[in-house]
Amino acid sequence: MTDHVHVHGGGGAPPVQGKMTPAWKLLATLFVAGAAAGLLVVAVYRATLPAIQKAAAAKVNGAVREVLKAPAKWDTLYVVKNALTAKLPEGADPQEYQKAYVGQDASGKRMGIAVVGEGPGFQEIMQLMIGFDPATGTLIGIKVLDQKETPGLGDKIENDPSFMAQFVTRIAPVVGVKGRAGSPPNQVQTITGATISSRAVIKLVNATVARWQELMQRYDKGGTP
């Protein structure tokens, strides 16, 4: 450090020229500051965590309710070692596992399952909540949880309700068609100007349904509904 910087430079206590602060003092400053900052961050983290988790849970619950068309209740199944199970290993954090929400109507009959599908969109990963009947592959409802498609074009997958509405009662695997969709039960009309985003949704829906159908079949064969 030059004398010039010492005389005119920056902030803090202006150092006396030629006199260096001893190393232990520097260490003590940073140690005390770091400890105080750490304590403060931990305190606020603990104070805000319940509200953050509550908001996240409310969002998931709302999406499940929407894509399964208002189930009376639902059970949560977890993917552990590529198989579904209702019980997590002891001490495991449910946040870390993929989940299927198995919805039932008032009489306890299974209505379908809701799962989160994640895959590439036009330029970013998109996240959908997909509700379908695993026995037939019939879609019940789809909701966009997260997308970063082009504003005004690709984001119509979320903002144009008629696109997602088409998927309802269609049977996966779905095929995207340009122009007018015909009567076959697996056709969906892509959005003009957002063909890639539409196809990304279709691909994601098909892949997600196929994967979870297989998981559910193995789970159902294993016994408990």
Binding site: P15, A33, G34, V44, Y45, T48, G152, L153
Partner: protein
Amino acid sequence: MTAVATPAAPKNDAPAFDPGAPPPATLFQDIWRGIGKENPVLVQFLGMCPTMAVTNILANGFAMGVATTFVLVGSGLFVSLFRKYIAHEVRITSYILIIATFVTLADMLLAASFPDISKALGPFIPLIVANCLLLGRAEAFAAKVKPLRAVADGLGMGLGFTVSLSALASFREILGRGTILGMPLFGPRFEPWVFLMMPPGGFLTLGIACLTVAYVIEWRKKHTLAARSA
């Protein structure tokens, strides 16, 4: 920075004169400076990254401004409070530590109170740490003045940042989406100028805003000169 009047020969017990210290000003001047002639976005061109990224809709721009104000005021206060105890050699590290702490607090508080906005702003709240406006104000101002002035300056700079971001975001949201705060403004026959929602629209909007501000500043300069010579 303009030179300060040379002090009279200091008495032996007078505090050391710091040539880098900001000139004395009233609290009102400290606040107003950040909003007006030293506006961080439109005059100083600081914090361009969040300016470009989050001014697509008003809610995002405003939330970003408020979060930055919170960090500016909090870090300014603490940098100023501890300015006598922070050794010169580790001052930048200490300032960053203080700033990072407040940014983390802002991030968590926002996530807890407004989860949707927090999600929309994504990584740009944590990135306030890297906004040169924060370190700049800590080093150039807060470290050299009493806490009250540091808070006033932080508040002014924060307000200036918030006002600029909100103005840019309103322009982009109104024309690019036809809404303000999510409420539709025009009828269904309005075709939104989608271009404004995308990054190039951000640059265009910022360019127009900076041009306007520069024009006003030049016009006022000319006006004052003319008035003086008359």
